[in-house]
């Protein structure tokens, strides 16, 4: 319980700071909307009508991933500012609590941005995205992305070229999650039953377990000199 309370304290701290500044949320939201606008106009040159449905899953996840990278870039940079990460490392708690706290707050920020972005997507592309199965895929995909992104964000925050390094390291590693999320999203938009998408959903769940488990094992080595 003490462990969870400390994870909760980190989430509380991140949410309070974000509510006060709205820096991360506004950057992520504006970026996601810009991606949607650009994709909409780019696709309208060659794709029309029913074929919009074919490009929607890719466009959706590109918007989520790039907005998520913006958020992840800030997650541990804020902790490095004024030496705050050391303040966390000094606390009498297993250091993995920091990882799970940051993972939870990244999830919250990404899900809020995604929830606000979905209606914009629907309006621009004319494809309804309010399907409970699709929401499940979004949650699973976001968790896998944030799971590996949080540990890589902790690693790259200690480097000078962090803004460049994070996407370079993250995108290849997160590729299986993205492929599974895009394929599952496409299947749902095509009206396939969930049983037909089981392989992609299982892959998402597997990476949702594997990435945090690996991070749990290595986080202490990542954040400590």
């Amino acid at each position: 319980m003490t462990y969870l309370r400390k994870v909760g304290a980190i989430v509380w701290k991140d949410v309070v700071a974000e509510l006060r500044t709205k820096e991360m949320f506004s950057a992520m939201f504006v970026f996601a909307v810009l991606v949607i606008v650009i994709f909409t106009f780019a696709f309208q040159l060659r794709v029309s009508g029913e074929r919009v449905r074919e490009v929607t899953p890719g466009a959706l996840w590109v918007a989520f991933v790039f907005a998520g990278i913006l958020g992840l870039n800030r997650a541990f940079v804020l902790e490095k500012d004024r030496g705050c990460l050391e303040g966390l490392l000094l606390a009498p708690v297993d250091h993995t609590a920091i990882y799970f706290g940051k993972l939870a707050s990244t999830m919250i920020f990404m899900l809020v941005v995604e929830a606000v972005t979905l209606p914009v997507f629907t309006a621009f592309l004319g494809v309804s995205l309010f399907d409970p199965a699709l929401l499940l895929v979004i949650v699973l995909g976001t968790f896998g992305f944030a799971g590996v992104g949080t540990i890589l964000s902790a690693m790259t925050a200690q480097t000078r070229a962090r803004e460049v390094l994070l996407p370079i390291l993250l995108l290849p590693v997160v590729a299986p999650v993205l492929i599974a999320a895009v394929r599952a999203t496409a299947g749902i938009l095509d009206g396939l039953p969930l049983s037909d998408l089981a392989v992609w959903l299982r892959l998402l769940v597997a990476f949702d377990v594997i990435y945090p488990a690996v991070a749990f094992m290595v986080f202490d080595y990542v954040v400590k000199e």
Binding site: R5, A9, E86, P92, E225
Partner: protein, 246 residues
């Protein structure tokens, strides 16, 4: 924790960053209630030693025991008895002074019973009052001056009433008023049974509060003695001699 064991015991402690050896075999014993002023030129290894004692950095060789327990093995439990004031304030600029302390109170789980919130508040009120920031408790830390940030940093470090307090160059960047406040705080500390390690470049500031003094030069303890055995002028001569020789 082992009864009767020294608060800090470093044995042949080494730390290397690549090819650069920051510490080259530091031996140090500090008993409960002792106040050590650790002097040394830039790059002597003072901050590295403090970070290892604070459990923030792993040593390359040798060992550190706190209250008889190896730091590497029991770091999580030992940290509840360590307070650190470092070059950085370790505070969140977007949170208010009170929110910062509330967050750290939660991280230190003060105290572990059902009345936590009320006692957290009482403790936060007490330390804010102690550092003279009660009137600014609801202001974001980013609006504070350097001196106020350092006062809040002190409040954060003593919030959980640690038995070992590590102060790494706490006077850096402070104006006269803030330095006076810090001096008063350190003089109060010297009368308690807390164990304190203070690193500073200023022999005057260190000697006026400590009961033990040491000089770290090029990663080694070059001199160590009791405060009562040296006056300021003698200490200056020793400092010049050992840092030149090192």
């Amino acid at each position: 924790m082992t009864a009767g064991a020294p608060t800090v015991e470093a044995i042949k402690l080494t730390k290397a960053f690549g090819h650069h050896a920051a510490l080259r075999g530091v031996d140090l014993v500090l008993e409960e209630g002792q106040f050590l002023a650790l002097f040394g030129p830039n790059g002597a290894g003072k901050t590295t030693l403090m970070r290892i004692v604070a459990t923030l950095t792993r040593p390359t060789g040798g060992s550190v025991r706190l209250w008889g327990q190896e730091v590497g093995r029991a770091a999580t439990s030992l940290r509840s008895n360590i307070g650190l004031i470092s070059h950085d304030p370790l505070l969140y600029g977007d949170l208010t002074a009170e929110e910062n302390l509330r967050f750290f109170a939660r991280m230190y789980a003060l105290p572990a019973n059902g009345t936590r919130s009320a006692l957290d508040r009482a403790r936060i009120d007490a330390v804010l009052d102690q550092v003279g920031l009660t009137a600014r408790r609801r202001d974001p830390v980013r609006t504070f001056s350097r001196g106020m940030v350092q006062r809040l940093s002190i409040a954060r470090a003593i919030l959980h009433d640690p038995r070992l307090l590590l102060l790494d160059e706490p006077y850096t960047g402070l104006d006269l008023q803030a330095a006076d406040m810090l001096r008063g705080f350190l003089q109060d500390l010297a009368t308690t049974d807390r164990t304190v390690i203070l690193t500073t470049h200023s022999l005057e500031q260190g000697l006026e509060v400590c009961d033990r003094a040491a000089i770290l030069a090029r990663g080694r303890i070059a001199w160590m003695g009791a405060r009562d055995d040296v006056d300021l002028e003698t200490m200056k001569e020793i400092y010049r001699d050992v840092t030149r020789a090192a």
